[in-house]
């Protein structure tokens, strides 16, 4: 759970960096997409790096979901009779949203891949082989932007608890100082990643990127 989660943290940071290229214009954005395919050449074949990343991510996703389902099932089995009254005292909202938020993210990932990678659905009927145009055309549709923003809220919450929880699971938060450090890292990553990803769709909707 923790290790695969940290792989995803590294991935979303790199993904967000690529997305922010949208602010540098169509050539820079599409150029970046092309560079990703050429990365590692000639040692790797064309698109080789991308395929390695895809395999690692898919394997991580399978393991991450498997671990989550196991924990969920264990939790259900560990308390079969529910409390009539149960209060949560000092735990964060994000920690209670890990499961449903995670499921939201899983559904979002499926949609997101259909939108931009596998299916390349252009809701405005424009070109689908131009990543920049596909992105602009997609985010000009308000409800599509809304789906992405909701997903980013889910991602932010997931990271806020997930990063600190990973530190705990890996046994790296053995003092008050370390605990505070990992909790802060979770908060900073949540704000930076969710915020950074949201900038592009919001900018498209507002016409800053067109």
């Amino acid at each position: 759970m923790a290790l695969t989660g940290l792989i995803f943290v590294g991935y979303v940071l790199a993904h967000m960096y690529g997305n922010l290229k949208a602010f540098a214009g169509e050539a820079a954005f599409n150029g970046y997409a092309e560079h990703l395919r050429e990365l590692g050449e000639p040692l790797l074949p064309y698109s080789g790096f991308l395929w390695i990343a895809r395999v690692v991510l898919l394997a991580s996703l399978v393991l991450h979901v498997y671990a989550a389902v196991t924990l969920w099932r264990r939790a259900r089995a560990a308390r079969t009779t529910k409390y009539v009254v149960k209060k949560n005292k000092h735990s964060s909202v994000s920690s209670h949203w890990m499961r449903w938020g995670g499921l939201t993210l899983l559904l979002f990932i499926v949609w997101h891949l259909l939108n931009f990678t596998v299916g390349k659905v252009n809701p405005q009927g424009g070109p689908t082989n131009n990543p920049y145009q596909l992105m602009v055309d997609s985010f000009e549709v308000w409800w599509l932007t809304l789906i992405y923003l909701v997903a980013m809220v889910a991602l932010g919450l997931h990271l806020h608890h997930g990063v600190w929880s990973a530190g705990q699971t890996l046994g790296l938060t053995n003092s008050v100082r370390q605990r505070v450090l990992w909790k802060r890292a979770g908060l900073v990553l949540a704000v930076v990643v969710a915020g950074g990803f949201s900038l592009v769709p919001i900018s498209v909707l507002l016409g800053v990127i067109s």
Partner: protein
């Protein structure tokens, strides 16, 4: 003070059980929660009813026997054990819901009393030092750095009441495990069996049917002894080390 008490009544392990409502008047604000239940029980006995069964022993906050979920909080609204909780923590006329700890590993014996011998079996699977480490005066023969001694002592205050399990949305006993692992792991006497201890205790914990920890932190806020969440990190670190050593 006057209270409406909604109390879980269950005849035995097989009985499905349910909430029963009782009215109790003339309760002193200086009574402990258990004394209030004693008064209710006297009233029930006088009325030829079966008294409510609940666990208690020392009533000094150090044995870990009392275990009530009060208004959805383990040991009630204060950071203390149920026996040290006083009725002044509630307001006059309040409705108070009292339930047993809810965990598959803590089956209900009767009413509010649960069987917590799962904790004993966890301790028996590694939470000890096998050799005789001497009598109290011998403690001075083995120097322990103050920082380690302090941490060991702080977590040794765990009384095994099970509030951590009761409060945990996952029904995990990781805070209890972490407290025991950290307590012995900080001391020189605990080093020889450190790897086998964590491996054995975690295996028993999972075998008993407790849930897995997702670091939510409800356990530490419910703990009457304020055991911090970093003992769960320590538990994971020790387990990682034990696995590396072939356990």
């Amino acid at each position: 003070m006057k209270f409406t008490l909604k109390i879980w009544r269950q005849d035995g392990p097989q009985d499905p059980g349910g909430i029963r409502t009782y009215e109790l008047d003339e309760v002193s604000e200086d009574m402990s929660f258990l004394e209030m239940l004693d008064v209710l029980n006297e009233q029930l006995i006088a009325g030829d009813e079966e008294p409510i069964v609940f666990d208690h022993d020392c009533r000094e906050g150090i044995c870990g026997s009392c275990d009530l979920m009060i208004n959805g909080e383990a040991h009630g609204p204060e950071v203390t054990t149920t026996c040290q909780l006083h009725m002044r923590s509630f307001h006059d006329g309040e409705t108070i819901t009292v339930e047993p700890w809810r965990a598959t590993a803590f089956p209900v014996i009767k009413d509010l009393m649960v069987d917590r011998s799962a904790f004993d079996r966890i301790i028996a699977s590694g939470g000890f030092v096998s050799v005789n480490t001497g009598a109290a005066p011998d403690a001075h023969a083995t120097p322990v750095p103050k920082e380690n001694a302090d941490r060991a002592f702080d977590v040794a205050t765990c009384i095994g009441c099970g509030a951590c399990v009761a409060a945990c949305p996952n029904g995990s006993a990781s805070l209890f495990l972490g407290a025991k692992i950290t307590h012995l792991g900080e001391l020189p006497q605990g080093q020889a069996e450190r790897d086998s201890r964590v491996a054995g205790m975690v295996a028993q914990h999972d075998h008993e049917g407790f849930g897995g920890c997702t670091n939510i932190g409800e356990c530490t806020s419910a703990c009457p002894k304020g055991i911090p969440l970093d003992v769960i990190s320590q538990l994971n670190k020790d387990l990682r080390t034990a696995i590396k050593h072939g356990h």
